[in-house]
């Protein structure tokens, strides 16, 4: 039976191949020449649907032309092109004109075409320009933070960019920047993400139904594509914000991009040094006291060259670093405390449409994440360092990827690929003046990861789409080898023109673990590989979704999922790797954890019009079970939040002014708090309060909510530059959302000062981010 089916399939492919002609090429922005990913392509009166890949490439098979093909994308005016048989063959560049008004109805594609119907299950793909309009902390446009307002996605800690997807922890997100993994995606202790919105062209987030081309994390894939650079003219942009200032410079290397390629440089630099200037001046002129400073930068550089054979070579690099330091001077010695962390990613890619039906991608990439703490005390008299500790944690990846996309006919595609990754981990590297023995400088751990996949996209009939695939991944570390078989399947039924019923099944493996005691994506979180003692994590997710479009403007999506985890790790009880030098990380963790998360999601999206936005709701439960935690009983995970509501809206008042607001509500999340207190008199002889803890996550923080508003005032200057002045307020009604809990105690004395009779213990929730107004100013040079 299987053999017959196989023969039938092959015959069908050959048949369809023989009688169709192929239209292929790239879809580009008419103004900038940027190749556009995820452009919706419909033909045969909307009965057949396809889209461009990450490089803007498309390939569709047409029969019996003339054929009308519609190219459409949110934010662009749709382009309807009629092709005759004689037009087919060769690569066709299709231009889409960006709409000056993102919200304009003209951007809606043809009647009957549906935004959400053909969207694969679990995929969130929202135009970057739309995400940039979402009000965020300090007015820093942050696409990653904006994504956390969608159902099933939330942030780890208020204001931070640590992303949690369907109960997963921040490390369970595969974050790719131009096909290169990025390990720490946060600046400023998590308050700003490392992705400069000016340099980003597209962001896709998969929370279920993962295509087989992605692997390596348990909960989500965030695939970010940066801009290649304007092919038509040199463009400049400068933005001054409260926290950061940023610039963008892009353009053709020569007069015409087709001859010489393009370049892009985008960077950000923090303004915090300026804000902290009084602290520096006080330190400098008082010649004593303390001086605190914070530096942050990132830089995206991109270069691309297109060859005559339509092949394209792309080189891009990202480097970013945060440095927080405190200097002190007590008159006798100088003290320095410095924390720094940063990523470097680089990739060299070669892409080529080998034929009209075959697209080839090759990538050589490098990713590095480093974190360090350095403290030192220098004697003033001798200028000698009397004591220092220098701690570093490093992670290096070198990747080689190759893949082929084959578009045999209009009924589907086949993607094949493989990749090799060399990982080098050095989780502990300490130099110290203190010869006090410490278990420092563990041998670096090297690991190799090999993976191969096949992905089949089939659209045998108009009402059915299937994405199936299989990925096998091997991981070798310390004489131990692991194999992760990962089947993937997503099936979509389209019972009506505007309805989609979707089912997804994914199995994922993760060969590295993040020891995060904080859950906020803080830099002291430590990446460690799966080892012989720590098996790799696994997850299986089953999900369902129903999508329904109501006319052109509204889309409704209902989703449900059930996800299980195994071989999870977590910090051992009370462990903090950075603070506990005397034990190896492998013994600081609880191993063999299992988990489950399940929930229901709702999204009502108004995509167009003067007033646009979405309302989302998530109901979720997220549990963990470790033999060594809470006596092996199930407990709610750190990220368990029962209800999350997000309302995001933007309103175009007129050509010059647009307004935006979002309201967020989240149930409290579990934390571990003391269940009692006693005096430590009996054991240590001191009357300090001894807080007693029983179970992990035994208390839920109060619920969280806030309203943010933003207004953008746009004006064209006399020199035809575009000036945008933004004003906004974070947490408008100043709700006290607990960022952290703080416990203080005061002694209570009896009749005399020596009669110590008790304490007054007070725990308070501290709002780190109260009513917070901000402004920013940007100029786009023409």
């Amino acid at each position: 039976m299987r053999r017959n089916l196989f023969i039938l399939s092959v015959a069908y492919f050959i048949y369809s191949h023989a009688f169709s002609q192929t239209l292929s090429g790239f879809v580009v922005d008419s103004k900038t020449g940027e190749k556009l990913p995820n452009v919706n392509i419909t033909f045969y009166a909307g009965k057949v649907n396809a889209s461009t890949n990450n490089y803007g490439f498309y390939s569709i098979s047409l029969e019996n032309c003339p054929c009308e093909v519609i190219f459409s994308m949110v934010g662009y005016q749709k382009n309807t092109v009629t092709f005759k048989n004689s037009d087919l063959g060769g690569l066709k560049y299709i231009e889409l004109e960006s709409s000056s008004n993102l919200l304009d109805e003209v951007t809606v594609s043809s009647p009957g075409e549906s935004y959400s119907k053909y969207k694969p299950i679990g995929l969130i793909s929202i135009p970057v320009e739309r995400l940039k309009k979402v009000p965020t902390l300090f007015g820093e446009e942050d696409i990653l933070k904006a994504m956390t307002l969608l159902p099933g996605i939330t942030n780890a800690t208020e204001g931070t960019s640590g992303v949690l997807v369907r109960g997963g922890s921040p490390d369970q997100n595969l974050i790719l920047l131009d096909e290169t993994p990025v390990y720490n995606v946060t600046h400023l202790f998590g308050f700003v993400s490392v992705f400069n919105p000016d340099a980003i062209k597209d962001i896709k987030l998969y929370k279920a139904g993962f295509p087989a081309r992605y692997s390596g994390r348990l909960s989500s894939v965030i695939d970010i594509t940066s801009k290649e650079g304007n092919t038509k003219k040199t463009a400049k942009e400068l933005t001054v914000g409260l926290i950061n200032s940023r610039f963008l410079l892009e353009g053709p290397l020569k007069n015409k991009a087709k001859d010489g390629g393009t370049f892009l440089a985008a960077g950000r630099l923090t303004n915090l040094s300026l804000l902290l200037l009084p602290s520096y001046l006080s330190y400098k002129f008082d010649k004593g006291g303390q001086y605190l400073n914070y530096n942050l930068y990132d830089l995206n550089l991109k270069w691309s060259k297109t060859f005559k054979n339509n092949g394209q070579l792309l080189f891009n690099t990202y480097t970013g670093n945060d440095v927080w330091f405190v200097k002190s001077n007590n008159g006798q010695s100088f003290g320095k405390y410095r924390v720094n962390w940063g990523n470097v990613t680089s990739s060299l890619r070669y892409i080529q449409p080998v034929t009209q039906k075959i697209f080839l991608k090759n990538t050589l990439a490098y990713s590095r994440y480093g974190y360090g703490i350095k403290t030192s005390i220098t004697e003033k008299k001798t200028s000698e360092s009397s004591s220092f500790v220098d701690y570093k944690a490093l992670l290096n990846d070198v990747l080689l990827k190759s893949s082929v996309e084959y578009y045999p006919n209009r009924f589907g595609e086949i993607f094949l690929g493989g990749e090799l990754t060399s990982h080098t981990y050095k989780p502990v590297n300490i130099k110290s003046s203190n010869p006090m023995p410490i278990a420092d400088n563990f041998q670096r751990v090297r690991a190799f990861e090999k993976g191969a996949y096949i992905e089949l996209n089939a659209r045998p009939v108009g009402w059915l789409a299937i994405n199936s695939g299989f990925r096998g991944a091997f991981f070798t570390v310390q004489d131990t080898s692991y194999f992760s078989p990962e089947p993937r399947l997503s099936v979509s039924f389209f019972p009506t023109k505007s309805t989609g019923l979707k089912f997804g099944y994914s199995k994922m493996g993760q060969f590295l673990h993040l020891l995060n005691s904080s859950s906020g994506g803080l830099p002291n979180d430590l990446w460690i590989p799966a080892t012989s003692k720590l098996p790799f994590g696994k997850s299986t997710q089953k999900s369902l979704a129903i999508t329904q479009d109501f006319g052109k403007m509204y889309g409704l999506e209902l989703g449900a999922y059930y996800k299980t985890y195994s071989d999870l790790v977590d910090y051992g009880i009370g462990q903090n790797f950075i603070m506990d030098f005397e034990t190896n990380y492998e013994d600081q963790v609880e191993r063999g954890g299992i988990g489950k998360s399940y929930g229901f999601e709702f999204l009502l999206d108004k995509r167009y019009g003067e007033l646009s936005g979405w309302i989302s709701y998530s109901y979720a439960k997220n549990l963990r079970n470790f033999a060594g935690i809470n006596d092996g009983q199930w407990y709610y995970a750190n990220h368990d939040r029962r209800h999350i509501i997000n309302i995001t809206s933007s309103y175009k008042l007129n050509e010059r002014v647009d307004l935006a607001a979002n309201w967020v509500y989240q149930s409290g999340s579990p934390i571990t708090v003391p269940v009692a207190v006693t005096t430590s008199l009996l054991i240590t002889g001191n009357r300090h309060p001894e807080f007693l803890y029983r179970e992990r996550n035994n208390f839920r923080t109060p619920s969280y909510h806030r309203l943010d508003i933003n207004a953008n005032f746009t004006k064209e200057t006399k020199r035809n530059n575009l000036r945008v002045f933004s004003v906004g307020v974070y947490n408008v009604y100043n709700h006290n959302n607990s960022f952290f809990l703080k416990t203080n105690y005061q002694p209570i004395f009896g009749n005399s000062r020596s009669e110590f009779i008790g304490w007054n213990i007070k725990t308070t929730k501290n709002n780190f981010l109260p009513f917070l107004p901000y402004i920013s100013y940007s100029v786009k040079f023409k």
């Binding site: 009692a676 054991i683 208390f699 008790g758 007054n760 402004i775």
Partner: protein, 311 residues
């Protein structure tokens, strides 16, 4: 620019006035007993008893509950006696004449009509360890912590580590003699760092010492003969241990104890107070060897040697 300046000013005022703190009340699990004691060979058995209080609000110490508290001693599973309250300290309950014996297992039960009964884990008093000799190394050494403080290396030679002793616990205390007008007035503890010469690192090498180098797992050493070495600072300094004074050490008291794993576990316990940086820390459930309560009743069998220091 003028308007921008005004805006900044308004923002600064708004921000500074918006920080606020709101009280949070943690749920109290109810009053439990805190029981602590170290039973030592041939020493009168005694334990200390206290109770827990709510983790928030006004906590006023109270010891009136002790009057209606019964502390029962069990040896090898048999009830021995109800311990009596010490006249000098209401929290201390002690036997009239029962002394801990090697090879015997002990259990303490604490009862009160208003507090759930607490029971200690069954702990056996292990056989002692024989100290062959202790001596100063004649070679000059520097303290790894405080190179300016005069330091000697002490070697302790042990033999006959009993097979059932999993952990050796070292205590090295410095003393000086007190006298007033030439009349001896006893001794005074003088703080001085005692530092193991071995790196402590239980994971890479489980035989390395634990907890500041004073706990050693016996499975890693020859039980018939082994020599341990320590740096001993001869002067109390800034980093001296609590309850110890400044001054020059005249002699060391060296205690080598056979203890079990629960003793080691209990001493690795730490407390924590929640503050901003606690978001980077893990929270540690309180280490307890008391069922339905907190604390531990541990056993320790110490062998003592003295080593006099002459300049």
């Amino acid at each position: 620019m003028k308007y921008v300046s005004y805006l900044f000013l308004i923002m600064a005022v708004c921000c500074s006035s918006c920080q606020k703190e709101i009280d949070v009340r943690f749920p109290f699990e109810g009053t439990r007993f805190l029981v602590f004691g170290v039973l030592e060979s041939d020493q009168i058995i005694q334990v200390k008893v206290d109770k827990t209080y709510p983790p928030n609000g006004e906590v006023l110490f109270s010891d009136s509950f002790l009057d209606s508290t019964v502390v029962s001693l069990y040896e090898d599973g048999n009830f021995v006696e109800a311990l009596a309250q010490s006249p000098s300290d209401k929290h201390v309950f002690q036997s009239k004449e029962k002394r801990a014996k090697v090879g015997r297992s002990y259990e303490i039960k604490v009862e009160n009509p208003h507090i759930p009964q607490a029971t200690s884990r069954l702990e056996t008093l292990l056989e002692g360890i024989k100290i062959d000799s202790v001596w100063f190394d004649p070679k000059p050494v520097l303290s790894p912590l405080n190179p300016r403080i005069p330091t000697k290396m002490i070697h302790i030679s042990l033999s006959g580590i009993p097979p059932d002793v999993p952990v050796i616990f070292f205590e090295l205390l410095g003393f000086k003699n007190k006298e007033l007008g030439g009349i001896p007035m006893g001794r005074e503890r003088v703080g001085g760092n005692i530092i193991s010469t071995e790196e402590y690192d239980e994971l890479e090498n489980p035989c390395k010492p634990h907890a500041a180098g004073l706990f050693f797992k016996t499975s890693c050493y020859k039980r018939d003969h082994v020599v341990f070495s320590f740096y001993a600072e001869l002067q109390g300094g800034i980093q001296t241990s609590p309850n110890a004074g400044m001054g020059e050490v005249e002699y060391f008291e060296i205690k080598v104890s056979s203890v079990n794993n629960s003793f080691l576990e209990f001493y690795q316990n730490t407390d924590s107070i929640m503050d901003f940086f606690s978001i980077m820390d893990g929270i540690k459930p309180t280490n307890t060897a008391i069922i339905n309560g907190y604390g531990a009743v541990l056993t320790k069998n110490a062998t003592v040697a003295n080593l006099k220091y002459r300049k």
